[in-house]
């Protein structure tokens, strides 16, 4: 695996779909995730969040070209790719990516958009108090040290792939890595000054909805694109993705309606994202019924997880990256063997259901532990090199002006 085969058949249909899917996945970071997060913070920090997401996309794109792609998708090592595609030196114009009917350039670019959004998901943990230099340093190092190896283990033919771990579009590779790392960074960075009793509510819930809606659309590229081909697999993945999002949204609204008497917009779209993160590892195999059930479960479990992190663990994972993404990704990964069994039109497992569950659990646990330890080291390093936290006075004044010299909202 992992070798470029010259003159292998390139499919125009596959290529057209993955080109489209690539654009959709980039849309998830720019601007979808940026807007989703920016609406959730205070008005004085809106630009800082947009700037963080935008800059991470650029840093990780260049690093993916230089080292990341090669470390994740070259060679057949158990633990890490090789250096043969550093700076994409081995890339040819017409060569197909092994195991697909795609030009390798399209595969490189499609996977790049995943390497971009995963570190950007972590932004939600550290907003409103982190130094911009620390954001750039942590994100770049994290993509190379945590994301690229994990992608190799599961998607690049590494040891977890050989063991038979199933992760269709990134329940483990994207959401568990980002969620666990978010918790570690939030814990090391310490809470915002106002946490927990004087934190201000989201400054623009409408912006959160616009971001979530764009994420929902972009997720079609994320999950259905992960089929790496245009056909029944992609179609079924899109159907499952959509149904899980809808079902999770309704379930989260129901929880709030029963508990507080009113279903909120921010709650509804948080349910959407939980449903999307949860179906991600299972999108290829869940089938429509499985997706509806998994979505409903996602809302209940993630709602509880958000409460647990904030109120019980008292960690200021400000925008609930672990509770919504990490827990959702893990839930979908672990529920996958059982969802396939009860659903219709589902896919095939690599092992018998119980054995598959064991393999999935190994994947989640090992990757979670690896992410936590590696993120701790990266964050310590960033603390020593550039410092993690802005001055208390700057935090009060807001990062828009103190870090970027701009103001999001002028009175007139």
């Amino acid at each position: 695996m992992g070798q470029t085969v010259i003159d292998a058949a390139i499919s125009a249909a596959d290529t057209a779909w993955i080109l489209t899917a690539t654009a959709l996945v980039l849309l998830m970071t720019l601007p979808a995730l940026a807007l989703f997060y920016a609406g959730l913070v205070q008005a004085k920090n809106v630009l800082s969040v947009l700037a963080q997401c935008f800059a991470i996309a650029c840093v990780c794109s260049v690093l993916w070209f230089a080292f990341g792609y090669s470390l994740a998708f070259s060679g057949d090592g158990d633990w890490l790719g090789d250096t043969s595609a550093f700076f994409l030196q081995s890339l040819t114009r017409d060569g197909a990516r092994a195991g697909t009917h795609l030009p390798e350039s399209v595969f490189v670019m499609f996977q790049m958009t995943f390497a971009v959004i995963t570190p950007a998901l972590i932004v939600g943990a550290y907003v409103e108090r982190i130094r911009f230099a620390a954001v750039l340093l942590i994100s770049g190092l994290w993509m190379l040290i945590v994301y690229a190896p994990t992608a190799h283990w599961i998607w690049g033919g590494g040891w977890l792939a050989k063991m038979g771990v199933m992760d269709y579009a990134g329940g483990i590779v994207v959401h568990v890595t980002a969620g666990v790392s978010a918790l570690v960074i939030a814990w090391m960075l310490k809470p915002r000054q106002e946490f927990p009793h004087h934190v201000r509510p989201p400054h623009a819930p409408w912006m959160v909805m616009v971001g979530a809606a764009l994420l929902w659309v972009g997720w079609f590229g994320f999950n259905a694109g992960s089929a790496l081909t245009a056909g029944g697999d992609a179609g079924m993945a899109m159907l499952a993705t959509h149904l899980s999002a809808a079902s999770a949204t309704l379930a989260w609204m129901a929880i709030e309606w029963i508990k507080f008497g009113k279903p909120s917009l921010v709650g509804a779209v948080t349910g959407t994202i939980a449903g999307l993160a949860t179906i991600t590892p299972a999108a290829g195999v869940a089938g429509p019924l499985g997706a509806v059930l998994l979505g409903a479960a996602a809302a209940c479990v993630c709602y509880f997880a958000v409460w647990l992190v904030k109120k019980v663990m008292a960690v200021d994972d400000a925008l609930d990256v672990l509770g919504v993404h990490g827990v959702g990704g893990a839930l979908g990964t672990l529920a996958l063997p059982f969802i396939v069994v009860i659903g219709v039109a589902g896919g095939k497992l690599n092992h018998a259901p119980l054995e598959q569950f064991g393999v999935q659990a190994v994947g989640v646990i090992v990757v979670a532990l690896f992410s936590a330890v590696a993120t701790w080291i990266i964050t310590k390093l960033a603390d020593m090199l550039v410092g993690l936290r802005v001055d208390a006075e700057h935090e009060t004044q807001g990062l828009d002006f103190t870090s970027h010299g701009e103001t999001g909202y002028h009175t007139r």
Binding site: K259, S264, V266, V306
Partner: protein, 112 residues
Amino acid sequence: MKLVTAIIQPHRLDTVREALTAIGVAGMTVTEVRGYGRQKGHTEIYRGAEYTIAFTPKLKVEVALGNDRVDEVIGAITQAARTGRIGDGKIFVVDLEAALRVRTGETGDEAL
């Protein structure tokens, strides 16, 4: 001369303006403000966490008048702004020392 300052619910502005226009008040100044009285703000819930919104949005309507019109104007505002629920606002009246119309230089009652 008197300055009447009314703090009202934002959605009552049109009714208040119509009531004042109907009794011949020719001008007013409106400012978006935030504050609380007995209402003590409210709470909002996001992702299961409760946030206290101490200062709720209100509008401040200011009208400058001759002494003889004060009771009439207060009556009109009170009637137009009232919903009967907590948070309907307050009206303050203070003495106005001087007034001047910038364009013409007229002063006192002439300037109102």
